[in-house]
Symmetry: C2
Subunit: 344 residues, 2 copies
DNA sequence: TTGAAAGCGCTAACAA
DNA sequence: TTGTTAGCGCTTTCAA
């Protein structure tokens, strides 16, 4: 039943050569006569020989694959980033293995171990919102496994990082709300220890400061599941609505939070909902279809994926240990919508 | 630099045993004394021994991984299906390798070869909209590689299939439009040779027939890139709008086509756009945020992924060749929206 | 109950 | 230029 692939041995036998000669011929080896080489290549082509990558992995201790850990592929930012990752990886001969943490630190560790044991040559990681202990990553990194972080990064591991200019993106979004007349601007964000949470919060604060608007702790709502759980977002949004000093706007810190916030508002009192302006980070390409006017901050997800992958492959293929690591910061883009919609 | 994992040899040396004994102990073997076994297991646990899955793959000629080929992960239906796939696969000890065809038949073949050579134990496939030659799949399947098709299936390979009740879903959607007063119902669909295209077209036709509405060839627009290319959809939508007998509604056949159609209409004359009712297959969970009223047909994507994976694992682990294949058909769900929106 | 040895497919050091 | 051999980590006959 099971199919028997052609091996180097088959070729050797058929051609009356040794396996090593065949291997050399195939491998573009130097110690080989042009004639033998031609014969082998021709025959291999004819019988459609495919080298067994598993045997190669075992031998070379590398798999020509890179592992990816993200929280969710059903998230526009990450699916776009993955497309960027693939575009570079495939062109460089690497296979991409995608895993999802679903924002769970435990699942992240399982995926990490799985990928490591499968001997991926390197790792592309965006941390889960639950992660605050990165020792598992550190351990593998210290042992020599190349890792590049993107989007949700950590400062505790010295390696390449690729992030959006979260500070500026958040600043711009907040400033936009201020310029639209908002003064009571709330901030809906993910768990506090995430790098993007800090950076975006700082941008938000800085915009308030610039316009002499006092920062209010109660206007910041943290969703520790990063938007995975609609209930959590609804509770957060409702607690904002119920504040004595009801916000006139909300700046949401990521994709899921932005749409989750809109959904939560839609469920609430329409009068309240329509009086609250929303801005948020999102890479959805459906925002123009939304009933609510939504000005959004878009991250260059595809490029981030590409750059992270290029950096990772550089690390993997570097002959000497790399000691000079960089953090690439890419600009976000504001997508301003002025659609005015009346819901009857 | 590169880290040296612990091998069975290390354990054998440390414990003064042979590698085969250690292997037996680890593998729950029978020919082993309880005592030796305990010692080995204890030590392995202590030094955190992890078997090398690559060596195992080479030996056993199986990888404990399953390959997935879909057109796009940035598509709600597929990302949800993948979550279903993962949920079953991980619980059964299988790793999932996701690849995207981006609706390209060429890319599909490359992915297929890649996965096959990586010796995945089985394949979960939803065909690209460009695919009409499935001989590559057939070849591998004939050689004994288990394949389960889902969503976009083929009748040319005798194996398990998991699909939604596309006929009924399309019928319901069309009937809904008819019951809403529409009589000139257009159909925006993917390439003609796709299984889902045929099934959904048939459902659409049957609804028309039931209500004695003549079927008009010019009302059916095929997008051969299945919605990957916005331009193509816009051309299709515009050619519908420009018909002498302008449709009063459009039934879109898949996720991308549904949102693409809405986007295309939004770009066109607002008067025209607002006079055309849209229904479509989609698994987006953002439809309630849309300005346009959209009644949609939702596929049980997660369950479809789960069932397809269970069937595949059954095939993989079956001792004897399976000859009795099934096609599982799951019901779709109509999500009716009556939101009335006035766009100013 | 244990160990020695072969072999999965491939590469590479060493010999010829 | 080619062949022989060992070995990557593991399982599994076959002997002991």
């Amino acid at each position: 039943m099971k199919f028997e692939p052609i091996t180097i041995k088959d070729i050797a036998k058929a051609l009356g050569l040794s396996t090593s000669t065949v291997s050399r011929a195939l491998r573009d080896g130097y110690e080989i006569s042009a004639e033998t080489r031609r014969i082998v290549l021709e025959y291999a082509e004819k019988i459609n020989y495919q080298p067994n990558p598993i045997a190669l992995s075992l031998k070379e201790r590398r798999s020509h694959s890179i592992g990816v850990i993200v929280c969710e592929i059903a998230n526009n930012f990450f699916s776009q980033a993955i497309n960027g990752i693939e575009s570079i990886a495939y062109n460089s001969g690497y296979h991409v293995i995608i895993t999802q943490s679903h924002e769970s630190a435990g699942r992240e560790v399982i995926n990490l171990k799985h990928l490591a044991s499968r001997s991926v040559d390197g790792l592309l990681v965006s941390l889960s919102s639950e992660t605050n202990d990165i020792s598992h990553f550190k351990e593998l990194h210290d042992k020599g496994l190349p890792i590049v972080f993107f989007d949700r990064v950590t400062n505790d591991i010295y390696t390449h990082k690729v992030i959006a200019n979260n500070f500026k993106g958040a600043f711009d979004a907040t400033e936009y709300l201020i310029n639209s007349g908002c003064r009571n601007i709330a901030h809906l964000t993910a768990s506090a220890h995430l790098s993007i949470t800090k950076e975006r919060l700082d941008g938000y604060k800085e915009a308030l400061r610039k316009y002499h608007i006092p920062f209010r702790e109660e206007y910041v709502q943290y969703c520790n599941h990063g938007g995975m759980i609609q209930d959590e977002m609804e509770r957060a949004v409702n607690s904002l609505i119920e504040l004595e000093n009801q916000p006139d706007s909300i700046f949401a810190a990521n994709d899921k939070l932005t749409t989750g916030c809109l959904l939560a508002l839609k469920k609430s009192d329409p009068a309240v909902a329509s009086s609250i302006k929303i801005t948020g980070f999102t890479n959805s390409n459906l925002t123009e279809l939304f009933a609510t006017s939504l000005t959004s901050v878009r991250q260059p997800a595809f490029e981030m994926g590409q750059i992270a992958t290029s950096l990772l492959i550089e690390l993997i293929e570097s002959k000497r240990p790399v000691t000079d690591f960089q953090t690439r910061v890419l600009d976000t883009e504001m997508i301003i919508k002025n659609k005015v919609v009346a819901v009857s």
